[in-house]
C-alpha cells in the first residue's frame, strides 16, 4: 500500500492529454489564488496582531476601485475557464463520423457489450487503439454511469434513452471501467476492464469467436420473428413505412412534428408506437413493450441502420475484414 501507489491516472486516450492540460491550468490558477489568500490572511494576522487591550483598527470603509478590480479580474479568468472547458466539452460530445460503434447495456450489476460484428462481452470491452470508438449505451433498469478514468470519459446510462460517449484509445493495456452512478447493492462491484489493443491484435481477438452472427444479422432475425416485416414491406405497399434508406432522415409525424429517425426514435416506436406516427400512416402498430430486451432493441436498431448503409461490412474493425472469417 505504501509503495507503488499511483498519483495520477494514465493517459490512455487521445482526449486524456487535452483534459489534463485543462486540469493543470485550473490547478495553477486556483492554486495561485488559494496561496495568495492564505498568505495575505497569515501576514495580516501576524503583522496587525493586537498589541494592547484597547487597540482598535483603522476605520477604512472600502474602495470602489478595489471592488471592481477583484470582481472583473476573477470574472475574466472564469470566462477563460468557461470557454476552454466548453471547447473540450464540444470535442468530447461530438463523435467523429465513422467511429466504430459498440453497444453497451448496463443492468444491475453488470455491463454487457455487443460489437456490431456480433462479439459479445460481459464486464469487458476490447477496443483497437488509434481508431475512434463510440459507445451507444442503454440501461435495463436503473441509472448507471460508464466511466473509464484513464480515458477520461464518462456518460450516464439512463433507462428509456440512449446516451453516447466516444474515445480514441492510444496506449495498449488494461484499464478500469467503473459504474459511477449509484445503482444499488452491488454498485461498487459493477466494474470491468477495457483492453486496448494494437489493431492487428484486435483483429485476432475479433476473429476468435463471434459465434452467433453480427448484431444486424440477429436484428434481421428478430425483425422476421416478431413479424415486423408483415407491415414494413419494402415495396411501399405495407401498412407501415418502408425502413430501407430511412435511417438518419427526417420524417413528418401525424402530430405535425419533424423528427429524425435515429436510435432513440426507433426504440420509442417499438415500445410506444403511438407516440410519433409517420404522417400518412394509421396508428395501428402494436407495442412490443415487454416482448424485447434492451439488447434485442439494439440488434433491431443495428439491422435497421444496416438497411441504410452501403452494403457489406457491418462496420467493425479497420480495413474491412472478410465477412466470411466469422463462423
Amino acid at each position: 500500500m505504501f509503495t507503488n501507489f499511483p498519483f495520477f491516472p494514465q493517459q490512455a486516450s487521445e482526449q486524456a492529454a487535452q483534459i489534463d492540460a485543462l486540469y493543470f491550468f485550473l490547478i495553477a490558477v486556483t492554486g495561485f489564488f488559494a496561496v495568495l489568500i492564505a498568505v495575505l490572511v497569515s501576514v495580516f494576522a501576524v503583522k496587525f496582531h493586537r498589541r494592547h487591550g484597547d487597540e482598535v483598527g483603522v476605520a477604512i470603509h472600502g474602495s470602489l476601485a478595489l471592488e471592481l478590480l477583484w470582481t472583473i479580474i476573477p470574472l475574466g479568468i472564469c470566462m477563460v475557464m468557461f470557454v476552454w472547458g466548453a471547447q473540450v466539452f464540444f470535442h468530447m460530445t461530438r463523435p467523429p463520423k465513422g467511429a466504430m460503434e459498440i453497444y453497451v447495456v448496463g443492468k444491475q450489476w453488470m455491463w454487457k457489450a455487443q460489437h456490431r460484428d456480433g462479439a459479445r462481452e460481459i464486464n469487458e470491452l476490447h477496443v483497437p487503439i488509434g481508431r475512434p470508438v463510440k459507445l451507444v449505451m442503454g440501461s435495463e433498469d436503473v441509472i448507471h454511469s460508464f466511466f473509464i478514468p484513464d480515458f477520461r470519459v464518462k456518460a450516464d446510462v439512463i433507462p428509456g434513452r440512449y446516451n453516447t460517449l466516444w474515445f480514441t484509445a492510444s496506449k495498449p493495456g488494461k484499464y478500469h471501467i467503473f459504474c459511477t452512478q449509484y445503482c444499488g447493492t452491488k454498485h461498487s462491484a459493477m466494474i470491468g476492464t477495457v483492453t486496448a489493443m494494437d489493431p492487428s491484435d484486435y483483429q485476432v481477438w475479433l476473429s476468435g469467436g463471434a459465434g452467433g452472427g453480427t448484431m444486424a444479422e440477429n436484428g434481421a432475425k428478430l425483425f422476421a420473428d416478431l413479424s415486423c416485416n408483415t407491415c414494413h414491406l419494402e415495396n411501399g405497399q405495407g401498412r407501415g413505412p418502408v425502413l430501407k434508406g430511412l435511417y438518419g432522415k427526417q420524417v413528418l409525424t401525424t402530430g405535425g412534428q419533424i423528427v429524425t429517425m435515429d436510435d432513440a426514435y426507433i426504440r420509442e416506436s417499438v415500445l410506444q408506437p403511438q407516440a410519433k406516427v409517420v404522417s400518412g400512416f394509421q396508428p395501428i402498430m402494436p407495442t412490443f413493450q415487454g416482448l424485447v430486451t434492451e439488447e434485442q432493441l439494439l440488434q433491431l436498431i443495428a439491422y435497421i441502420k444496416s438497411l441504410s448503409e452501403p452494403t457489406s461490412s457491418a462496420g467493425t474493425g479497420t480495413p474491412a475484414p472478410d465477412a466470411t472469417v466469422k463462423k
Binding site: 401525424t254 402530430g255 410506444q272 403511438q274 407516440a275 396508428p283
Partner: protein, 240 residues
Amino acid sequence: MSEAHPGYQPPPVAIHPPGHGHTPHHPYLQHHFDNMEQQAEASTLGMWTFLVTEIMFFGGLFMAYLVYRWQSPLGFQEASHHLNIYWGAANTAILIISSLTMALAVRAAQTSQPVRTQIGWLVSTMVLGAAFLGIKAIEYSDKFRDHIVPGPYFQWEGLYPKPAEQFYSLYFAMTGLHALHMVIGLGIMAVITWMASRKTFDSEYYTPVEVAGLYWHFVDIVWIFLFPLLYLIGRHYHAA
C-alpha cells in the same frame, strides 16, 4: 455598561418590563409588537410570503405537466376530452363567486359591519367551498367508475394509453393537492367564523380575516390555472 456606546442610546424614560400594569393597548396586540399597525403589516407580509412558497410547491407539479404535455401533446388532448367540462366550468364559477363573498367578508370586518353580516359572508364562502368539493367528489367517483384512475386497474380505450395515464396521474395529483388546500381553507374559515361570532373583528382589528382571505384567493387562483390546463386542452367552441 460604563458609558454610552455610540450605536445605541438608552431611551429618555425607562419603561417597566412587559406585564399588564403598563400602558393600555388593544387586547389582540401581541407583546413583541409595538402597535397594531406593525402587527397587521407583519401578519399580511407573513401570509404573502407563505403564498409564495405555495406557488413554488404547486410549481413542481406544473413543471411535470409541462414536460409530459410537451412530449405527448395529442395524448394529453385525448385524455383531457374525457373530463366533464360542465362540472369544471361550474367549479370555476363557484370559486370565483366564493372569492367575491370572501372579499365582502373582509370588507364587512374592515368597515365594522354587524357580526351577522360578517358571518353571513363567511358562511357563504364556506358553502361555496363545500359545493366545490362536492362536485370534485362526483368527478372523482366518475373516474373510478370509468377505470381511469392510474394504477393497476387503469383502462384506456383511446389511441394514447400511456399519455392518458400520465395525464390522469397529474390530474389527481394537482386537483388532489388543490382539494387538500380547499379542505384546509374550510377549516381556517370555520375558525374565522367562530372568532367573528365572538365579536372579535372590527375596523381596528380584522387581520385574521384579511389573511384568511389572501389564502382563499390564492387557492382560487390555482384553480383558475388548473381548469384550462386540465379541462380545455384543444377544445374548440362549435357553433350549433
